[in-house]
C-alpha cells in the first residue's frame, strides 16, 4: 500500500522544476535547492531550528516544491552521513583528507557534544518571495509548508548554550533578508 492516502498523492502534480520528470514519490530536490542547502550546511548550519527550517523551506520553495520536513530530513541525513563517512580513513601519514564530496565542515563535531547550535542567522527568507508560478502551488506558499515543530522558539534555551566556538559572530545580522548568497558570503 502506498503511504497515506493524502500523502500517497504526494506531490501529485509531479513536475520538478527543471529536474527530470519524476513522479515524485518523494521529494526530489532540484539542483538549486541542493545548492542552497549545501551552502547553508557548509556555512555551519547543521541543526536548524524550527523557524530556520521554515525560512529555508520558504526560500527553497522558490525553486520547487518542498516541505519543511524535507528540509528537516535533509539536514538530519546530511549531518549524520557526513559524520558517518568521516569516521573511517586511518590517515596514517599523508591523510588524504579524501574530500569525498563535502569539503567543508567547519566544526569537528564529534558526537553529541557538538550540539553547539549554530545560531546562524539565516534570518528572514520568507518575505522575499514573489508569486512564482508553481503548478501545484496555489498562490500562498508559505502556508503550505507545514511546520515540523511548533514554532516556539526554544532559542532562548539555546541562546544560553550558545556555541563556544569562535565561528564568525553573526547573530542579528540581516533582518531585512538580504539575499542568501550575500549572507553566506560572510558566514
Amino acid at each position: 500500500m502506498e503511504m497515506e492516502g493524502e500523502a500517497g498523492v504526494v506531490m501529485s502534480g509531479g513536475f520538478n522544476a527543471g529536474r527530470v520528470g519524476v513522479k515524485c514519490g518523494r521529494w526530489n530536490p532540484t539542483t538549486e535547492q541542493v545548492k542552497v542547502l549545501m551552502d547553508l550546511f557548509r556555512a555551519g548550519l547543521r541543526t536548524p531550528s524550527t523557524e530556520q527550517i521554515q525560512r529555508i523551506s520558504n526560500h527553497l520553495s522558490y525553486f520547487g516544491k518542498v516541505e519543511s520536513k524535507n528540509v528537516f530530513y535533509w539536514f538530519q541525513n546530511h549531518k549524520a552521513r557526513e559524520r558517518h563517512h568521516k569516521k573511517r580513513r586511518r590517515g596514517s601519514s599523508s591523510d588524504e583528507e579524501a574530500e569525498t564530496e563535502h569539503k567543508f565542515v567547519i566544526s569537528p563535531d564529534c558526537k553529541r557534544e557538538a550540539k553547539l547550535s549554530h545560531r546562524s542567522a539565516l534570518s528572514s527568507f520568507a518575505k522575499e518571495e514573489e508569486q512564482i508560478t508553481w503548478p501545484e502551488r496555489t498562490g500562498s506558499r508559505d502556508i503550505e509548508t507545514l511546520e515540523l515543530f511548533p514554532l516556539k522558539a526554544y532559542d532562548l534555551e539555546m541562546e544560553k548554550i550558545r556555541c563556544a566556538r569562535t565561528t564568525t559572530e553573526i547573530k542579528e545580522i540581516s533582518f531585512f533578508d538580504p539575499p542568501l548568497e550575500l549572507r553566506l558570503s560572510f558566514l
Copy 2:
C-alpha cells in the same frame, strides 16, 4: 563504541516477527503490536502510567518481544510526532483538510507491512498467529507475566526513565471508539 554490546544476543530464535533481516539492535514492533498501540493511541491514551505500560507491555509480548521501555518510548514518540503533524489552520472551524493531510507521522508502515506479513516459523511463543483471542488473562490483569520474557528487570530501567517526569497523568482513555473496546479491556 559502536553498538555491539547487547546485540550479541541476536535473535537466534528470531522471533522478531519477520522484520527484514535486522540484527535486532532495537525493538522492532510487529504489525500486531503496532496495531494495538495505535488503537490505544487513537482511543485517547497518550501518556500511559507505569502500570498501564506494564500491562500493555505484557499484552504486546504475546505478539513478540517487547519491553516496557519500548512501550514508553513508543507513546512518547508517537505523541510528539503527531503533534508536529498537527498544523492547525488559522481560523476556520470546519475546513476540509484538517485530518486528512497526514504528511509527517502516523504513517502505517507502507511497504514494510507487506514484507512483515510473512513471519516465519520462528517464535517460541508466537504460536498460531491466527486470530488468537488473548488467552485467559483478561480476568486479572497482573497475573502471569510471560515467562518467555522475564519482564522483571526492566522495572528499574523504567524507573529511571520515569524518574524525571513529574506529571501526574490522569489520562483516562476516552472511550469513543467502538472497535477497540476489547483491547482496552486489559488496561
